[in-house]
């Protein structure tokens, strides 16, 4: 095959896959609002996606908040601006690092899990079985995961914001000689509702991306264990890239 044909094939493949993903996303989103809505499945997924992700999100947030405080202190001391540590920590955590890192951690934990579970169901004909049992897999399997991820990721980000700020607080008060009460007052005074809102909007979008990407890759997996493994990898990589791209777009729109 000539290089030109290879480029042509690759280009068509990108458009084909993008179209397939867009079509899947529209169908999955519609299924979230079309009855029957399986509340028990949504609740189960809220536990699976939200509650069981608390440890990983909390640990990530505390270490990032602590490292952020140290770095801002070092950078700020070059301009005699060490006192801005609490302000920049809370801004960085709520607007950017809380939602992005929670999103990336969940891309690994949740998107991969959804792709593996639905992919295994696909290759073992469980999805076909569901269809023959008069149950739409989009409503029963995919919609509850999307709803749960979109609802619980903002809640996880609120937790990540609080723990991240506390990570910065611990380092600042134990290692950097900040007064605890002053640190907290600066944090609260500086923080605006718009900062938190931006983080929550991002979190909801990232939750949607994570669940749709996992479901898409799992639903279209083929070829046994190899196919499920490939779907899992693609779900994590795809979700991570889309999260970072969406993060930039949302920030740009919000800043404007």
């Amino acid at each position: 095959m000539t290089p030109f044909r290879q480029i042509g094939h690759a280009t068509f493949a990108v458009f084909r896959e993008t179209g397939r993903f867009a079509n899947f996303t529209a169908r999955a989103a519609a299924a979230c609002f079309a009855p029957p809505i399986y509340m028990s499945q949504i609740w189960r997924q809220c536990l699976q996606i939200g509650y069981f992700s608390l440890p990983v999100v909390g640990l990530t947030a505390v270490f990032i908040g602590a490292a952020l405080a140290l770095n801002i202190y070092v950078g700020g001391s070059r301009f005699n601006a060490e006192s801005f540590v609490p302000n920049i920590v809370v801004l960085g955590i709520t607007r950017e690092l809380g939602p992005v890192l929670a999103g990336l951690m969940l891309a690994g934990r949740v998107s991969a899990g959804i792709a593996a579970e639905i992919g295994t169901m696909r290759v073992t004909e469980q999805i076909d079985a569901m269809t023959t049992l008069s149950t739409d897999p989009f409503r029963f399997l995919i919609a509850p995961r999307i709803t749960a991820a979109t609802l619980t990721l903002p809640l996880l980000v609120i937790v990540a914001d609080i723990i991240g700020v506390m990570g910065g607080y611990l380092v600042a008060t134990r290692s950097l000689d900040f007064n605890g009460a002053t640190y907290l007052r600066n944090t609260v005074d500086f923080l605006e509702a718009a900062d938190v809102n931006l983080g929550l909007i991002k979190a909801a979008v990232f939750g949607f991306i994570i669940s749709v990407m996992g479901a898409f890759q799992g639903y279209h997996s083929r070829g046994g264990a190899l196919g499920v493994g490939r779907a899992t990898t693609n779900a994590v990589v795809g979700a991570a890239v889309l999260i970072l791209a969406a993060n930039y777009l949302i920030t740009a729109v919000y800043v404007d």
Partner: protein
């Protein structure tokens, strides 16, 4: 509706997969109460035929008619209603790993018909008794059952809603001869008990002879022979003779 109307009709089904013409005009009628077994070697398109009949795969050309109604032309809601006429036993049973045996069996009742759980469980246990699966297995997970028990559970799931047409995909594959014979007996009993039609695909001739009113052989994308089990040993068709005798030499090229 005329009593002469076939329960299921496949008319000129064509399907191309991976640049290979898998089905090239499959025609098959199944009368009410009749059990038809489709035989053929590996990769000749038996599963594709079944998936097209069930609506799990869209044929490139041809029609699937159920009670004389062209299924492709139905609106989604009506198609879902048609699906209620079907029961399917998958090759690997395709039980849902996350649910207990009784929830698997009662899946259609619970999630499509919204039957109360207590009533659904009672009906699931009744179905388990019919397929000679002890009720004490009701609360176990599929992974805790043997292959033969999983097939019984799959059969119970297929018959619980009293379908008009039962489909069996390689019902005895992977089972020892005694368990396979027990599954064959169950299939015959269930089809008689429900008075439904049945379409099975298999390459197990012992199974085909036992459960079929008529056997059809699929080769080269078409049905090349159809007749009663008693006629198959004197079919006069070289392809059928080779398949029934299990010889490597003959017009059918073995795929090794």
């Amino acid at each position: 509706m005329s009593t002469d109307t076939p329960k299921l009709q496949l008319i000129g089904l064509k399907k191309r997969l991976n640049n290979r013409q898998v089905l090239d005009g499959v025609d098959l009628d199944v009368a009410p109460g009749q059990s038809v077994v489709i035989i053929g070697g590996s990769g000749v398109g038996k599963s594709v035929t079944l998936k097209c009949a069930l609506g799990l795969m869209k044929p490139d050309a041809g029609e699937v008619r159920v009670d004389g109604v062209h299924v492709e032309r139905l609106k989604p809601r009506a198609r879902a209603e048609q699906m209620r006429k079907f029961g399917m036993l998958f090759q690997g049973a395709a039980l849902f790993d996350s649910l207990t045996i009784w929830e698997n069996i009662a899946f259609r009742l619970l999630y499509a018909d919204h039957t109360p759980r207590a009533e659904a469980k009672a009906r699931a246990i009744e179905a388990m008794r019919k397929v000679r699966l002890a009720p004490e297995f009701a609360d176990l997970r599929p992974v805790e059952l043997s292959g033969g028990m999983q097939k019984r559970a799959g059969l119970a799931r297929a018959i619980i809603a009293k379908p008009d047409i039962l489909f069996f995909d390689e019902p005895t594959t992977g089972l020892d001869p005694i368990t396979a014979d027990a599954i064959n007996d169950l299939i015959v009993d269930m089809v008689k008990d429900l008075g439904c039609s049945a379409v099975s695909i298999t390459h197990d001739m012992a199974s085909a002879r036992k459960i079929a009113d008529e056997i059809a052989m699929l080769y080269g994308g078409k049905i090349i022979w159809r007749g009663r089990p008693s006629e198959i040993d004197a079919s006069g068709n070289a392809f059928v003779d080779q398949f029934v005798s299990g010889r490597a030499e003959g017009p059918i090229q073995a795929i090794v």
